[in-house]
Amino acid sequence: MKARWALVDLVVLVYALVPVLWIVSLSFKDPSTFTDGSFVPTRWTWANYSGIFRNDDFTRGLINSIGIGLISTFVAILFGTMAAYAVARLTFPGKKVLVGFSLLIAMFPQISLVTPLFQIERGLGLFNTWLGLILPYITFALPLTIYTLSAFFREIPWELEKAAKMDGATPFQAFRQVIAPLAAPGMVTTAILAFITCWNDFLFAISLTSSNAARTAPATISFFTGSSQFEDPTGSISAAAVVITAPIVIFVLFFQRRIVAGLTSGAVKG
């Protein structure tokens, strides 16, 4: 029985990891050996990695990605926390509509928004700016944060807040000193999920930017060219792909438990 499971595990792992390993392998191959069909590079080289950092296009892309991702995540968590708290704790007119709308946004096909967003952002002067990407990223990260966080808030007993009020806390003090510390694990999880969503985005990044002023790393990679028209940029693209994937992989491995908790919270005890 154990052996059979091990076999299934192995098949799944190979299926999932071969493309990843292939990219890693490609990124270490000398350009002349790309087509040799060998899975393990025959001639190892760091040239692809040093190549992508030779000019500052990719570095700019990374800075843009990190900056835009962090700001979007921070703002989404800030508003998401408040909204989730309201959704979990208060009854107010239009609550169902609000929750429904945020679900709608999460389901909305992003491709259909690209053209209108492009026009709007050009009209407002937001095109090719950090803000031009931060705004749509917040919009799409908010439903996720509201959903995950409200599940976390619902698990915190209401009596704790009442107790804090009786102990002399203002509503904000009760939130700040009792509820927020208890919801902190949930906030960290949600922040990680939101950041990954922003980090991975390609569609908006490619459509709403035109120079490295705001172009994020995934979009930058698509503009890679060889140093001459006869040179294939495959090596650089692979190296860059490894560079932007590695932090996420490390992150996810490190916070694995948290992320799973975030995705399933509320599933069992709603």
Binding site: M166, D167, V178
Partner: protein, 389 residues
Amino acid sequence: MAEIVLDGVTKRYPDGTTAVDRFDLRIADHEFVILVGPSGCGKSTTLNMIAGLEDITEGELRIDGARVNEKAPRDRDIAMVFQSYALYPHMTVRENIAFPLKLAKLAKTEIDAKVEHAADLLDLKPHLDRRPANLSGGQRQRVAMGRAIVRSPKAFLMDEPLSNLDAKLRVQMRTSISRLQKNLGTTTVYVTHDQTEAMTLGDRIVIMRSGLIQQVGAPQELYDHPANLFVAGFIGSPSMNFLPAEVSEGGLRTGIGTIPLGDRVRRAMATRRVPGEVIVGLRPEAFQDAALAGDPGHGGTFTDSVDILESMGSEKLAYFTLESGAAQSEHLAEVARDAGADDVPGVVQIVAQLDPKSAAREGRPMKIWFDSDAVHLFDPKSGSNLTEV
């Protein structure tokens, strides 16, 4: 230390249901008042209104003479102990107890001194640096008490603080709460659904039902002089026996024979119109083994076989089943529902509290004497006690 006055306090929800209806009560300084009643009677809502956790729809709440209806909980200077204890799980016991003082912006040295004092009082010293998750139920309960007493508030509100403890610990904590309240002398309002807790703890008991006060009084007063069927059935354990009865010249015709009317009952009946059908109430201790009772002159006897005999050591409880049909009244039905004992219809069970020396045996018929002076008569419709003036 404070006097709390509820003046026609009413809670009505937006959907029109009235949870508490014109609640009038003056709670004196230092007093220990119990709100008791079946679930859904409005006792917790009343407590939450005093706390400020729920709005008051109508009426006025005064603490030390000042209207506090519109004041936030933190401006009322009242501490509350919750049923779930509501300890802050991310804080140590020390931080939990210090929390209200920290919010009040007291000096660090003063906070430490007060926390130590409270911990001393509640025997929590060795646990101050532990987290609530690592404490036993009784210890958690004491931490919740500590958080309430540490800032010497005007009043304590307690919402079923003992219901999460096991039976033995509950009895123990009951006496320590009682002692603590006597020592501190702080006005206390205590909510419970357990009539034993109510009887043993309170200076005064307020019995509630469907948002209305049924009776207010000292425990013994409620026991001896219940105002209506509901109070009579709710207070006392084992509870009062109820029998349907017909009023006739010779006395009250019931399933256990005709009960002669004593002077007290006769006098009370003379002052009001008594319906032909009434409900007779007799406490279990109004019965006695006829062999041991002698003949005090007032009373009667009946003979029936003992269904079940419970020997408690200090007394024996004998259960009899009468086939005569149970007393029918919505007032009793509610008590039964609350006790979880919707009895088999058409059967009356009588509980008699006998002397331990009684020779009663299960399945054997025995002669039981009952005290006809201890009889209460109730109007089945209104539920009111016809023998109380």
